[in-house]
Amino acid sequence: MHLNSLTIDQVREALQQGHTTAIRLTESFYARIEVEDAAIGAYLTLSKERALQKAARIDALVSRGEQLPCLAGVPVGIKDVMATRDVRTTAGSKILANYIPPYDSTAVARLEHAGAIVLGKMNCDEFAMGSSNENSAYRPVHNPRDLSRVPGGSSGGSAAAVAAGMAVAALGSDTGGSIRQPAAFCGVVGLMPTYGRVSRYGLIAFASSLDRIGPLAKTVKDAAILLHTIAGRDAMDATSADLPVPDYVAELDKPVAGLRLGIPREYFADGLDGEVRVAVEAAIEKLGSLGCEIVPISLPHTEYAIPTYYLVATAEASSNLARYDGVRYGYRASGVQSLSEMYERTRDAGFGPEVKRRIMLGTYALSAGYYQAYYLKAQRVRTLLARDFDQAFQKVDVIVTPTSPTPAFKLSEKTTDPLAMYLADVYTVTADLVGIPGISVPCGETTQGLPVGLQILGRHFDEGTILHLAHQYEKNRAHGA
């Protein structure tokens, strides 16, 4: 069985026809991780006992001839920012090095309820803050397509594991591009659903008005199956939307002719790598040949998205990360004399440099005298960004752009300049700020063999259209692009 290309449907079929068992499949994934992951670093923690128990249950269903749930036996990885009961959850941070959650996040519980096997927890930037996975407090992740390069971030472990055949699919989280950008860098599919589409109960909070959970997978169809499994109202998350969840898979094969694709000129300006441009323009041409209408548009406030993002996200992070105080869970500094000394020394030793930088920036932006000038200003500009999209979506059905301005960069290339790293998210952050869904789907390679991602953004709660378009692109590209 080719673990590299294995999809959800193939797992089901193999189990149903008795070609393998869930236990054998799980063990073969662990064997592969054992061999491959030393060089890649995608996993932080393996949950073998739990995985093999779940696999045994699937095998029992098969042997009784019962109907298999939709993700039966599918080995998945979970970004280490989602709580997993009795399985260490670190958020890529030393401050949570020994944290054992007493409950499961809803997204994980829903995957397991549908038969998925959780292999382990995926490496990521500390508290999901980063674009290269180099902010993990444990180890960097190497891009399986070129080990000298980053896998993207912050869901770098999730993307790398899927690309290297160390999981059939994975869950990631996206606050500024953290699902789509690593998906593009590693050559896999990454889907960020609409804000509110998927419950965040059990997601370790970074920026609460932005954070979203979504799948990384090898195919658009797998992403659609996973979204369908995890989406929908959850009483444990007040921000989860009480809207019906469509059957995304059933809609994948509708024709795309007549769909109006907006191409924002600001996403093809200076700073876009030449080879990325060529690949993305070829993909747009392909979509045109399938009968889509290509409509040039403008999103005039695009250049303001990154500064807006770094004020909003850091302000929210400074508040969310106040809970790491060494009292109820996580690391506590030893040998301290007073409570305030404990707080300071715990947080100083427990957080890494980028997390401290963002806490400092966010605290400053919220502090007396600066709240209006920075935090509220950014939230007002966020409204202007939302209006850009509202106006665009009156003329077009989806917006098509590159996912990232460059292919995967080298490790250490951007670590000394925080601003240069922030600009890696220039095409992804706006969708986070305005709450709309987006998908990155592979659209070719550079001459050096580095994957390029095509980003498709849709209207609020219209994941159906972006999945459907991405699927048709994927299918037709495979057939002689």
Binding site: A235, R347, M360, Q379, R380, F461
Partner: protein
């Protein structure tokens, strides 16, 4: 320069961070670079523009109006919660049913 070293110390205290001497210097440099960059936002006139604090609020699309609803103001009854033992299991220090912390009130 937007921020001076004393501002870094003030903000670090607000955030309960100690910061080493080296960290203070790099923080000073990075915060100034980032704050200079975000000045870009001042090119925009946002007078009269409502801040978007939360995208789950209606922001203009029909569908979004019904997306997030308040639940009825009713007590659902006592929902199961973590046992005391479970809630304390991750604590760095505990005593009986309490989280244990260093002395809070200084003796004079």
């Amino acid at each position: 320069m937007k921020v001076a070293e004393k501002d870094v110390l003030y903000v670090a205290a607000l955030a309960n961070l100690e910061l080493s001497q080296d960290e203070r210097q790099s923080m000073l440099r990075d915060l100034n670079a980032i704050l200079n960059y975000v000045d870009l936002l001042n090119q925009l006139d946002t007078a009269g523009v409502t801040p978007t604090l939360q995208v789950a609020e209606p922001i203009g699309t029909e569908q979004n109006h019904q997306a997030v609803q308040m639940r009825e103001d009713e007590l659902y009854g006592l929902r199961p919660s973590l046992s005391q033992d479970t809630a304390l299991a991750n604590a760095p220090a505990s005593h009986r049913s309490f989280f244990l912390v260093p002395q809070v009130i200084e003796r004079s």
